[in-house]
């Protein structure tokens, strides 16, 4: 029972990261039509940013939670303005290849300076310790990660699906020329959207820093699982990526308990099964 709930907790935490990352991917894909291969790299940058803020500038966890995503988001917007912008109208695959190249550069630079080993990042004092729930011990920080991720996911969903800004965004996805004719600055909106998606990944990075340590390759392997999550969920809806993210985290956790050998592969096996039954993914529209 204890081991099972522990694995479920781990699954929920991984699910939080999957959800935040696939949400960012979905937002970027919706606006820019680009699969952001650099998403793992900016996730890693978020964690490193928090590390630097603490160790160089003495800025703690709480401000970092806001500052790091903004800084990395600005970096993302610069990337969009200087490079991704030039790919509009080209085949989607070029966006994937360009962001893959960017990911290699970013990860390579960090690996050069920090090697492949992890740097520790302490859990903030307020979130130390845990609660005994009777059937299991719940570390407060982990509970915080899950709650925080849920809140951010729902807020992003609300922003895009329920506000006027989100309506512009969705309209611009459907027909950018028409939306421009209404006097809305679509290129700026695209840049901001990329910044938002990248910021979400960086936020996930800050959240994960105390749990997973800060490593240059922390995003590299995670991102492929997130891609699988995206394929399973389909890119049709924001809600789809959030729910699939959490659900697959839990499935992974359960597999780790019942059949640990398959825990690395279960997401990919599920992806194959889903595709065989429903090629558009669970919530996806036809491409």
């Amino acid at each position: 029972m204890q081991a099972l709930s522990a694995q479920l907790l781990v699954g929920l935490i991984n699910g939080s990261f999957y959800a935040l990352l696939s949400l960012g991917l979905a937002v970027i894909f919706g606006m820019l039509n680009i699969i952001n291969f650099a998403h793992g790299a900016v996730y890693m940058m978020g964690a490193f940013c928090a590390y630097f803020l603490l160790n160089v500038f003495g800025i703690g966890y709480w401000p970092a939670l806001i500052v790091a995503p903004i800084l990395v988001g600005i970096f993302g917007m610069v990337m969009e303005r200087t490079m991704l912008k030039w790919l509009t109208g080209l085949d989607q695959l070029y966006g994937l290849l360009l962001t893959f190249g960017l990911a290699l550069i970013i990860q390579g630079v960090f690996q050069n300076y920090f090697g492949s080993s992890g740097l520790p990042y302490a859990i903030p004092d307020e979130l130390q310790g845990g609660i005994n729930l009777g059937f299991m011990f719940l570390p407060i920080y982990r509970a915080w990660v899950i709650v925080c991720s849920l809140v951010v996911c729902i807020a992003t969903w609300y922003l895009i699906e329920r506000t006027r800004l989100g309506a512009y965004l969705r309209a611009a996805t459907e027909n950018p020329t028409l939306v421009r004719a209404f006097g809305i600055n679509v290129p700026r909106m695209i840049t901001l959207t990329y910044g938002l998606g990248v910021g979400l990944a960086a936020l996930a990075g800050v959240l994960s820093a105390p749990i997973n340590q800060v490593r240059p390759l922390m995003g590299a392997d995670l991102i492929i699982v997130v891609f699988a999550v995206v394929v399973i969920g389909g890119m049709g809806s924001i809600m789809g990526s959030i729910i699939t993210g959490f659900a697959l985290g839990i499935v992974e956790g359960l597999t780790k308990y019942f059949y640990p050998e398959a825990s690395n592969t279960v997401v990919f096996v599920l992806m194959v099964l889903v595709l065989l039954v429903k090629p558009t993914g669970l919530t996806g529209r036809a491409t």
Binding site: L104, N264, V269, L275
Partner: protein
């Protein structure tokens, strides 16, 4: 969907094939004299294996418009199977190669059936995820020896007579394997099948409305590409005498894309040039450690932003020829 490559260079078919034949003869002649020039043969052999791999990949992306981001799985699978067949089962090299290629063929049928169901960017992500699935399987199954890989694979005697442990002999066998694969791809491109494939790349909806069962064509291209990538993997085992996890990892899939992109997507000789360029770069920049990754990333960025036709593509475009 705009076309992946620029085909304005493609003039009358007769002249195009004439140009390509001349370059092919030149390339074969150059490769044939390598053992007499004092160039390190293992370097060229490695380049040949990657060139075949990139050509196989190019058949799928350059002519079919399908970006597979998991092509390393064919290289790795056939490599492991060949290495296991040669070392543990003690099969002769020709049967070892057959076993590896057959494994890659089966794998490409199985993964192809799943991946072909989605298009564009989704296809890329599915192939990537399938390759990662295999990576974890190979990491855990005992026969691959996990992180250590299969080491010390015997090269043996081809057909019981040709001793592959001699570098020059091995070189010509690898060259033969490469030329065989290259010509199969060349034949496929210049056949009715290849024409249908190109029409799918340009406009799949129109190909469907013309009555072509495009899924079958795409699957056939995928299987052909995967099988020939498997041939590259088996040949690579004979050269390197080992099979390891790096050949299945997704960074290898990225390198295959890079080779093809640098040389020129949808050109006949581009992948060969690109493969040798990247292998040479890794060889000579090995001392820079992780900076090699950064340089590769930078090449990706530069290619995508300014240089989409690749080396051979640009040359062909400049001279208005088809290469």
């Amino acid at each position: 969907m705009p076309a992946l490559t620029d085909d304005t260079a493609r003039t009358a078919n007769g002249r195009a094939i004439g140009d390509e034949m001349i370059v092919f003869i030149l390339m074969t002649a150059l490769l044939a004299i390598v053992p007499m020039t004092g160039i390190y043969p293992y370097f060229v052999m490695q380049g040949l294996c990657f060139a075949l791999l990139a050509c196989a990949f190019n058949l799928l992306l350059g002519y079919g418009g399908l970006l597979s981001f998991g092509h390393a799985m064919f290289l790795g699978t056939s490599g492991y199977v060949s290495a296991h067949a040669l070392k543990v089962w003690g099969l002769p090299p020709e049967l070892g190669i057959v076993a590896g290629v057959a494994a890659a063929a089966v794998l490409s049928v199985v993964t192809g059936v799943v991946a072909i169901r989605r298009q564009g960017i989704y296809f890329a992500m599915i192939t990537l995820a399938l390759a990662q699935l295999l990576y974890f399987i190979y990491l855990q199954t005992p026969f691959t020896h996990g992180e250590d890989g299969i080491q010390g694979v015997p090269q043996g005697k081809l057909f019981g007579v040709i001793d592959l442990s001699h570098p020059d002999t091995l070189y010509y066998v690898i060259l033969g394997g490469f030329l065989f694969g290259f010509l199969v791809i060349y034949r496929a491109i210049n056949s009715p099948f290849g024409e249908v494939l190109k029409s799918i790349r340009e406009n799949e909806q129109r190909a469907i409305s013309l009555g072509y069962k495009t899924d079958q064509y795409k699957l056939l291209a995928y299987v052909l590409s995967g099988t020939l990538a498997g041939l590259a993997g088996s040949l690579k085992v004979l050269v390197a005498q080992n099979a390891s996890l790096t050949d299945v990892h997704w960074t290898m899939s990225g390198e295959i894309v890079l080779m093809t992109l640098v040389g020129g997507l949808g050109t006949v000789f581009g992948p060969v040039v690109g493969a040798f360029a990247i292998v040479a770069m890794q060889q000579y920049l090995a001392g820079f450690g992780q900076w090699v990754t950064v340089i590769q990333g930078a090449i990706f960025v530069v290619c995508v932003l300014t240089f989409r036709r690749g080396v051979v593509g640009e040359i062909a475009h400049y001279f208005k020829r088809s290469l």
